[in-house]
């Protein structure tokens, strides 16, 4: 039975669309809470998760009216630094991670014209090192996550030509492990989040031939545990966010049918706070915007009927947004 059919079974919990949209709206209002203060440094990522979540549910305009949308966009504008990078929040140093978040938010709101493309491209390309890797900022931390962020943002801006894509992909390949997965650096242990970034970077760079699809697909399939959820590494607990990291990678490899999708969907839906909205990492934990987005995005990849905007497994953006930008979609479409 296909996952989409399973969603109609009475045993499948319903996705609380209204509650989740209200949860996201509340999260973007509560500027004076402690939680808000503690997450100030990654606010741009938080905005991207929230906006993308309600977009995929078909509720972007209903959740954010014109004034709210303008408020969000001018906040993003104010996170820009002189060198073209964006910080996680106002007054925070620029970083590759949040530069991608900024580009994603502008893309979601169809406001790419607010970007100084040359400045952003200048910053991102200056982050590539001679061995092809990317540092996150000028302090030199290197991580395959940053390669993904840079390539994704550059592709969204139509400026992949600004960096050495072949070298970037060869560097990713040097981070491949015995289990077919990828780590943060050469020798780093495979981790599903890291696998997403590496497979995504290779997909953008047109070098998926570096991936051993059978070996990695199997390792990813073994992330599913008895309760249906997915973990990020062997012998670890399941967590809703891995629904995205694992499933998106399987989707790019055309192998989402290697796991029990209905069981995964049931796990995600059990992590919902049905009263106040939001999705948590595991059943009965506190929900947050991060897990809310990745839970919904995972359901999107499985064709949940309430997630009306299908999502692209590489760019983690709605397909309609990419189509609007003239970017061809990723994944094999199988599964």
């Amino acid at each position: 039975m296909s996952a989409a059919k399973e969603f109609e079974l009475p045993s499948m919990p319903t996705l609380c669309v209204d509650e989740h949209c209200a949860f996201v709206a509340r999260a973007s209002e509560s500027a004076d809470t402690l939680e808000h203060a503690l997450t100030e440094h990654l606010r741009l990522s938080g905005i991207y998760w929230g906006v993308c979540a309600v977009y995929t549910l078909g509720r972007l305009d209903r959740t954010f009216d014109r004034a709210k949308k303008e408020e969000i966009l001018s906040y993003v504008d104010s996170c820009r630094n002189e060198n073209g990078s964006y910080g996680g929040g106002v007054g925070h140093d620029g970083h590759v991670l949040y530069t991608l978040s900024a580009v994603q938010i502008y893309a979601l709101f169809d406001e790419l014209s607010r970007i100084d493309v040359e400045a952003v491209v200048g910053f991102l390309s200056s982050m590539q090192l001679s061995n092809g890797s990317f540092q996150g900022d000028h302090w030199g931390e290197i991580d395959t996550r940053f390669t993904y962020c840079a390539l994704s943002a550059l592709r969204l801006l139509g400026r992949l030509d600004a960096v050495d894509v072949d070298k970037a992909c060869a560097y990713i390949n040097s981070c491949k492990n015995f289990d077919g997965g990828f780590g943060a650096e050469p020798g780093g242990e495979s981790h599903a989040g890291q696998v997403f970034t590496c497979v995504g970077a290779l997909a953008i760079g047109g070098r998926l031939d570096y991936v051993d699809g059978d070996l990695l697909g199997w390792w990813l399939a073994e992330r599913q545990v008895k309760v249906g959820g997915l973990n990020g590494r062997p012998e670890k607990l399941p967590d809703v966010c891995y629904s995205w990291w694992v499933l998106s990678s399987l989707s790019v490899l055309g192998k989402t049918h290697w796991i029990d999708r209905a069981a995964l969907a049931r796990f995600i839906l059990k992590c919902q706070d049905e009263k106040s909205g939001g999705i948590s990492d595991r059943p009965d934990d506190e929900p947050d915007v991060y897990h809310t987005f990745f839970g919904i995005a995972g359901l999107a990849l499985m064709g949940h009927p309430a997630v009306v905007e299908p999502i692209d497994p590489v760019f983690a953006l709605p397909k309609s947004v990419l189509r609007r930008m003239g970017i061809e979609l990723s994944g094999t479409g199988k599964g």
Partner: protein, 258 residues
Amino acid sequence: MAMTEKLVTTCPEVTTGWNRRKEAVELGAETAEAARDWWSEELRVSEIALRNAPKSYPSWYHRKWTVSRMIRTMGRESETVRMTLERERALCSRLLDADDRNFHCWAYRRFIVQSLGVTTEEELEYTLKKIEDNFSNYSAWHQRSAILDARGDVDSATLKGEFELASNAFYTEPEDQSAWMYHRWLIARARALKIPDERDAAIASALEICREVAELEPGCKWPLLARASLEDEKSRRDVLDRLSSIDPARVGYYRDVA
């Protein structure tokens, strides 16, 4: 510096706070104070941060940045640097005793032992100890594979020992996937052996052990999974059929590889 210390120890994820400290260090280096012991402070503060948040990316990076800068300015041979590196190695061992799957700590440890010039043999010994402490330590199995891979082709004598290590693990904990994943890699390495007799012998003995474990643990999927890649065509189909019924979640995989 007191202000940033408070910030990074209470909110270690705030990269900007760590950046201010790095700037201050770099600024100080250009003044007459250049010789002062700037690194102890950075190591102390990042240790507090790591004690509260052992998985904080920026805290680990600050530590790596500090040690890298010491090496760059004082040289690897300096007594201070060597003492610091040894202390760092001991710190990693303590942290990995507390959480043997902390991949941040494993990564930092790789950087430290590389800087110290620790031999491959010594590192293999360390992973062996960690694996024997806990067969479920996938991080240690991973590290072991990375060391062996970096050393070049894995020869048949080495493989024999590694197969034995994996078997010890799955006779003890047959349901733990760590050793089985390592085992899959060993089979691939065995297939790559250049001398046909050695190759066939390695594969045959791996198959024999998997059959034995499968008999001892009839409900366990892992020896069957290994057998699926080792048996001839006919037995292979039977094994995959059995896998599909034991482990229905992954039936799509078993169908595709059949």
